[in-house]
């Protein structure tokens, strides 16, 4: 049955994949363009099948703190929202990162700043990979570009969250959330039993047996030495993640004179641009970071030694381009092209920007 190919929206794929991977609880508050995540969960009624809880909280602040609470008990919990809602969650995300708890937060981005627009955007890149909340923490950030990946990376996000006891962000945009494509859903995994949680999450708050001391989950340490030790431990974990978990996709980069760097939906638009450019005889490749943090710095650095220039294409005013420039470190010209406020760049617009890069570096 799991082999069946279905047609569904990206938001729906997230919800269905969450049920399938044995998620214990979803807490959320509706906001366009991701409301179908909770709508699908409510329609599927997983509390009758797998026992998964689906709860509409009174606000995003409340949702993220319910996630915090659920994660303390070793449960597989998640929330989803769109940009303004995710801004409201930043305090909770910082607490969860410090308390070293696993959870998945989905951001189906829309155009900002402010209440902005409901159309797709990628303008929360900085918020996602540079902090968002306060303090020295990092979020693993996965950026799907197809509806199939919305399902696959929901599962992957939970796996990484538990592997490293850290919040993971699934960073999508309104277009991938709303579009329909073919999907094969993952196989149904059972939810973890209480015994499995006790065995696999010895840190979880599940009731203290006589054999061990209390488990304390907190993000508060008033003694600076303790807080520094917490930070050092977090940083060591982040270096480990940077070493092990970079995911990157490359198209025609081997012989490319020019590289387009783009994530999510933009990476697909740029593949079309690449096809158009190759027809004109321009050797163009596309590099797509799938993990935005950890960022594929080494891969980009290696390409910078072989190519003549890079173009970073984003649905924002140029955010990821800063990380591309850090990786390239001045070796080649890195230009930025983006559309703002909810407008999706068309393949021919990207081609124009690419031709400018080529002209500037001929």
């Amino acid at each position: 049955m799991s082999e069946e190919v279905k047609l569904m929206k990206g938001n729906e794929a997230i919800a269905r994949a969450a049920i399938r991977c044995g998620c214990d609880g979803y807490f959320g508050y509706p906001i366009t363009p991701q409301s179908e995540v909770m709508e699908t969960l409510m329609e599927e009624e997983p509390w009758k099948t797998t026992g998964m809880v689906v709860l509409q909280a009174e606000s995003e602040t409340s949702s993220i703190n319910m996630v915090y609470g659920g994660a303390c008990t070793g449960k597989k919990v998640m929330t989803s929202s769109s940009s303004p809602g995710v801004s409201l969650m930043q305090e909770g995300i910082s607490y969860i990162a410090c308390a070293e708890l696993p959870c998945v937060v989905v951001n189906v981005m829309r155009g900002g700043p402010g209440l902005g627009t409901i159309q797709p955007s990628q303008a929360d890149y900085f918020q996602t990979v540079k902090g968002g909340g306060h303090g020295d923490y990092k979020l693993i950030a996965l950026a799907p570009s197809t509806v199939q990946e919305m399902a696959d990376y929901t599962v992957k996000a939970f796996d990484l969250a538990f592997k490293y006891r850290t919040p993971v962000m699934l960073l999508a945009d309104g277009a991938i959330g709303q579009m329909m494509e073919k999907v094969v859903l993952p196989e149904q995994r059972p939810r973890a039993t209480e015994e499995e949680i006790r065995a696999n999450c010895p840190w979880a708050i599940v009731g203290k047996p006589a054999s061990r001391g209390r488990n304390v989950i907190t993000s508060l340490a008033l003694k600076s030495e303790e807080m520094e030790a917490t930070n050092i431990k977090l940083q060591a974990k982040y270096r480990e993640i940077e070493k092990n978990e970079v995911i990157v996709e490359m198209h025609n980069c081997e012989d490319a004179d020019y590289i387009i760097v783009a994530f999510g939906l933009c990476a697909r638009i740029c593949q079309k641009t690449m096809e158009m450019a190759r027809e004109k005889g321009l050797k163009v490749g596309v590099l797509r970071p799938i993990t935005l943090w950890p960022f594929p710095t080494e891969e980009i650095k290696a390409l910078a030694n072989k190519c003549k220039g890079m173009l970073c294409v984003e649905m924002n005013a140029g955010q990821m381009v800063e990380d591309v420039r850090l990786a390239v470190n001045g070796k080649v010209d890195v230009q930025s092209f983006g559309r703002l406020g909810g407008i999706i760049p068309a393949p021919d617009e990207v081609l124009n920007a690419l031709e400018k890069l080529v002209a500037d570096n001929a």
Binding site: L7, G174, A175, Q178, M180, K182, I269, P347
Partner: protein
């Protein structure tokens, strides 16, 4: 085979549903499909559009700037999309919603009086199926049995008694469409 289509009109004309049925039909034929809607407030009046791609190969961008076929049901959509049809491509219009007819001569232009027919038969909601029928006459990219199966999949079960009316509308569209350029 690869067909890149834009369908555009007023919210409520069934533009998004028509695209959905095409996408389901492609799925049933084992094709790669993408259905990219406008999802803004225009769904509730104003202009709505959907980009549908059916292809034998993996689809790169679901967002396009040129189309093999444009199906246009109102004047703002004609103004916006007439220039985006690839040379030699197809433009289908329902003249009911237009204050001027298409001007391009390097594309094939078809007209279908779908609104008039839907009103005449007192089945306004079949408007999109009449147009879909007309389109499939010109571009038989999916088999009619797959379209009917796709329709069945995209309609909630409580509406399944309407399937015969829709099939009739598709056939009517095939008869009604005429080439004007």
């Amino acid at each position: 085979m690869k067909e890149e289509i834009i369908i555009a009109g007023f919210g409520g004309q069934g533009v998004l549903s028509m695209g959905k049925i095409l996408a389901y039909s492609g799925l049933l034929q084992g094709q790669e499909v993408s259905w990219m809607p406008s999802y803004g407030p225009e769904q509730r009046g104003g202009t709505a559009n959907v980009t549908v791609i059916l292809s034998d190969e993996r689809i790169s961008s679901p967002i396009l700037n040129q189309y093999d076929t444009a199906i246009v049901l109102n004047q703002p959509s004609l103004d916006k999309f007439e220039s985006t049809v690839k040379p030699g491509g197809v433009l289908i219009v329902d003249p009911h919603g237009l204050s001027r007819m298409p001007e391009r001569t390097d594309i094939q232009v078809y007209s279908i009086d779908a609104t008039e027919e839907a009103t005449r038969t007192n089945n306004q909601k079949t408007l999109n199926m009449i147009i879909l029928g007309g389109y499939l006459k010109i571009r038989p990219i999916v088999k009619i049995e797959n379209v009917m199966a796709g329709l069945k999949k995209s309609l909630p079960e409580r509406h399944h008694h309407l399937l015969p009316i829709n099939e009739k509308a598709i056939n009517m569209g095939m008869d009604l469409i005429k080439k004007i350029n």
